[in-house]
């Protein structure tokens, strides 16, 4: 016989089930927000932009509009999300939200109050990308068009962020990272920087006045929206936004972001151009540089001054030597390695100096390395690293080796 307990259990369970399904939502009732933008509002406090996915059948053939973009003004983000239900039949949800784009204007005022609800929310998660848009966030979302196979921006952004490993000038920045920078006494927050492309022809003319050497060094030193280009997507992801506490204080361009990532250890590989040491105006050397090891960072304090010592370990593969000089041979290789080490060290030092002097913001998290000095948490907090950071001395040393030289082992002399 079935025991009585079991029978009772089944009865009660059935009674419970009869009451209905709580919280079950069919896919067709839902509107999935894929990207969200926060701007300053005119009528109300904020103007939220939602990019909502329009599900398309796989066999549809012609790709129609895959997303719909709406803008709502409200006092808070969730208020805006709810207000949108006045004209969108679907229940808007943030569970598939890929990115939050914040406008420069709001970021300068302070992001803390916008980040807190995002961190508390059950729908949104901390792995959501957080980006600061130069200009309007809504405009960025509107102008963003992926390639044909990237119907939805979620995949596009994931691929963008994954490509950061290959380029180094895109910062993988999510809410988690920002929040950690906000809360930790050892670092300051930073986010990726995006913008809509500006169509400025005169900027190009201005740039042409620079010397070739400068052009080589500043090859990727662009802020988003300023890359000289034509066609393609109307938006750029390059560089990063520097925050002090929760306020935006400045930007780093693509080149600086690359060196930033070298310091944090995120840097994997990227292509660098250096002017030919002997002939900087005519020729240049292109080198693919990889992370050899994670950087060694030490912070030394002797009471009078604090020194940040950075050792970078990089490896290179020669891609191009325009001068045709046989750098593979003997001492020349060493010379080239030293030359590149020195120029990287110089750039990195410059970057750290810039954050110290211009922004006074330790976005690198050097402060975290000072944790080891202290036995208790309170002592470390009292040390107040962030106040000390601008006055630290910086020593950067780069250990660079050319491991491979492409498909050639040497460069034979050219006879004209």
């Amino acid at each position: 016989m079935i025991p009585k307990v079991k029978l009772l259990f089944i009865t009660v369970a059935l009674l419970l089930l009869i009451q209905g399904c709580w919280g079950a939502r069919e896919t067709d009732e839902m509107g999935y927000i894929l990207m969200m933008g926060i701007d300053k509002g005119k009528e109300n406090i904020i103007r939220a932009t939602f990019q909502i996915a329009v599900p398309q059948p796989a066999e549809g053939g012609e790709a129609k509009v895959a997303t719909e973009i709406i803008e709502v003004e409200a006092a808070s983000l969730f208020g805006a999300q709810q207000l949108a239900s006045a004209f969108i039949s679907k229940h808007l949800t943030l569970i598939h939200n890929k990115a939050v784009v914040v406008s420069e204007e709001i970021a300068r005022e302070g992001l803390s109050k916008y980040i807190n609800p995002l961190v508390r929310s059950r729908e949104l998660r901390r792995t959501t990308f957080l980006m600061v848009a130069k200009g309007k966030a809504g405009e960025f979302i509107e102008k963003n068009k992926g390639l044909i196979f990237e119907k939805y921006p979620s995949r596009q952004l994931d691929i963008f962020m994954a490509s950061a490993d290959l380029t180094g000038f895109i910062l993988k920045s999510d809410i988690h990272r920002f929040y950690q920078g906000l809360k930790s006494p050892g670092q300051q927050p930073t986010t990726a920087l995006v913008a809509v492309q500006k169509n400025k022809e005169e900027q190009n003319e201005e740039a042409s006045s620079r010397s070739n050497e400068e052009k080589t060094i500043e090859e990727i030193a662009y802020l988003p929206g300023e890359i000289p280009r034509k066609g393609g997507n109307k938006i750029d992801l390059i560089g990063q936004a520097v925050f002090k506490e929760d306020q935006l204080v400045g930007f780093l361009n693509g080149k600086e972001t690359r060196y930033y990532q070298m310091l944090t250890g995120e840097f994997k590989t990227s292509i660098f151009s250096f002017p030919e040491p002997k002939d900087p105006e005519e020729n240049l050397i292109v080198m693919e540089i990889r992370r050899g090891r994670y950087p060694e960072i030490r912070v030394k304090a002797n009471g009078i001054k604090t020194v940040i010592e950075v050792n970078l370990f990089l490896e290179g593969e020669t891609l191009s030597i325009q001068s045709g000089k046989n750098y593979e041979k003997g001492k020349l290789e060493k010379d080239l390695e030293q030359y590149i080490s020195a120029s990287i060290s110089q750039e990195v030092t410059q970057l750290i100096k810039k954050t110290q002097e211009e922004y006074a913001s330790d976005i690198f998290g050097f402060g975290e390395y000072t944790r080891a000095f202290f036995w208790t948490w309170q002592d470390w907090v009292d040390y107040a690293w962030l106040e000390k950071y601008p006055f630290c001395e910086v020593k950067v040393q780069t250990f660079f080796n050319i491991r491979r030289t492409g498909m050639m082992v040497k460069t034979a002399p050219t006879h004209f």
Partner: protein
């Protein structure tokens, strides 16, 4: 009536799941609140202290071979005091179970079933627990043992795929709030390991020799300690100190943080299966253990008729706190802080009483 017997592997798995269930609730948060960056150290120390406590308790049991702690209490302290102590322990166990019941139900609501009334979830937990406890100690211990590898793999998976967040700097400064606070909270922290005392109450259900009880306890304690250290350490690295005290359900927050490229993210729902499964086992186990303590206290021939009453008691106790924050406080500030009194100090008092009154010695001499 056929005697129900369980082996040492089942017992160890059962105790590990009973203790370890806390990790899916607030335990990592509580520990990091106490120990800040040294949260893992607090876990380590309290684990070691618990092992020492356990070895002493095994000493108590050694004086009265084959007798559960509830009976020992009566033999040494007399029926009135013994009954009082046993009732107190029973109430503590029911209090713990009901707190877990509430917390697990609330956690389920916060994480997956946002629109389900909390009472329904608690009812499901309680009914399942009733059925499981009715099936008996054998079935529950075996379920625990069978599901143990799956649960362990699930938890290990979460902790491992968080490797991009690993940053051991976040575990520094080494002593967190300072040496003395760490030691003090380590002592409080033994409350988290208190469930090991269940072994002493279930002595007569074990098929293995009483001497092995010590090993089972030490093994379970060390295993849980490693597990707690791992989860606390990862928690501290993923959500470093100031933020670590904010999260309501740390394990869920950890699984939410998983991000391994485009195809492996937002997977926390999968891990809901693991921690709710643990919740089912631990609540059923709590009710069963309460019933068995009550059975031994009043020398009843069976515990099964007690189950409906106990389920009802647990259920109503679970809804005594008004809101979630009150329950969280109850768990953190009462159960986790003073739980060591009924679980470790009482048995040691009994031991002391036995030593002074020379109770156990006669028994052993007789046999």
């Amino acid at each position: 009536m056929k005697k129900e017997l369980v082996g040492h592997s089942e017992a160890a798995a059962f105790i590990i799941i009973m203790i370890g269930a806390k990790a899916f609730l607030g335990y990592p948060r509580i520990v990091t609140e106490w120990g800040l960056t040294a949260g893992w150290l607090v876990v380590l120390l309290s684990g070691l202290i618990s092992i020492v406590f356990w070895l002493m308790i095994v000493g108590v049991l050694g004086r009265f071979p084959g007798k559960p702690l509830s009976e020992i209490a009566e033999v040494t302290l007399g029926p009135v005091l013994g009954l009082g102590i046993n009732t107190f322990v029973f109430l503590y166990s029911i209090f713990g179970t009901s707190n877990h019941l509430r917390l697990f139900s609330e956690a389920a609501i916060l994480t997956v079933l946002t629109e389900t009334p909390v009472i329904i979830l608690a009812l499901i937990f309680v009914l399942t627990a009733w059925l499981a406890a009715y099936y008996g100690i054998e079935a529950l211990f075996r379920s625990a043992y069978f599901s143990f590898p799956f649960l362990a793999i699930g938890v290990a998976l979460v902790l491992l795929v968080l490797y991009p967040y690993y940053d051991f700097k976040m575990l520094l400064p080494l002593t967190g709030p300072g040496v003395w606070p760490v030691i003090k909270s380590s002592f409080w922290g033994t409350s988290a390991f208190g469930e090991v005392i269940i072994l002493a109450y279930l002595v007569r259900y074990f098929s293995f020799k009483p001497e092995r009880l010590k090993n089972v306890g030490v093994f379970s304690l060390s295993f849980v300690m490693m597990f707690f250290i791992a989860i606390t350490g990862v928690y501290l690295m993923v959500l470093p100190v100031p933020a670590s005290s904010e999260t309501l359900v740390p394990f869920y927050q950890l699984s939410r943080s998983i991000f391994l490229g485009h195809y492996f993210q937002r997977v926390e729902a999968v891990f809901v299966i693991f921690w709710t499964f643990t919740a089912f086992i631990s609540i059923a186990a709590g009710i069963l253990v309460g019933a068995i303590i009550l059975q031994d206290t009043f020398k009843l021939p069976s515990y099964r008729p007690l189950l409906p009453a106990l389920c009802l008691l647990t259920f109503s106790l679970a809804f005594t706190p008004l809101d979630l924050i009150q329950t969280v406080k109850l768990e953190g500030e009462v159960r986790m802080s003073y739980g060591w009194i009924p679980t470790f100090v009482l048995p040691l008092l009994i031991w002391a009483a036995a030593l002074i009154l020379r109770k156990g010695e006669n028994k052993t001499n007789d046999s």
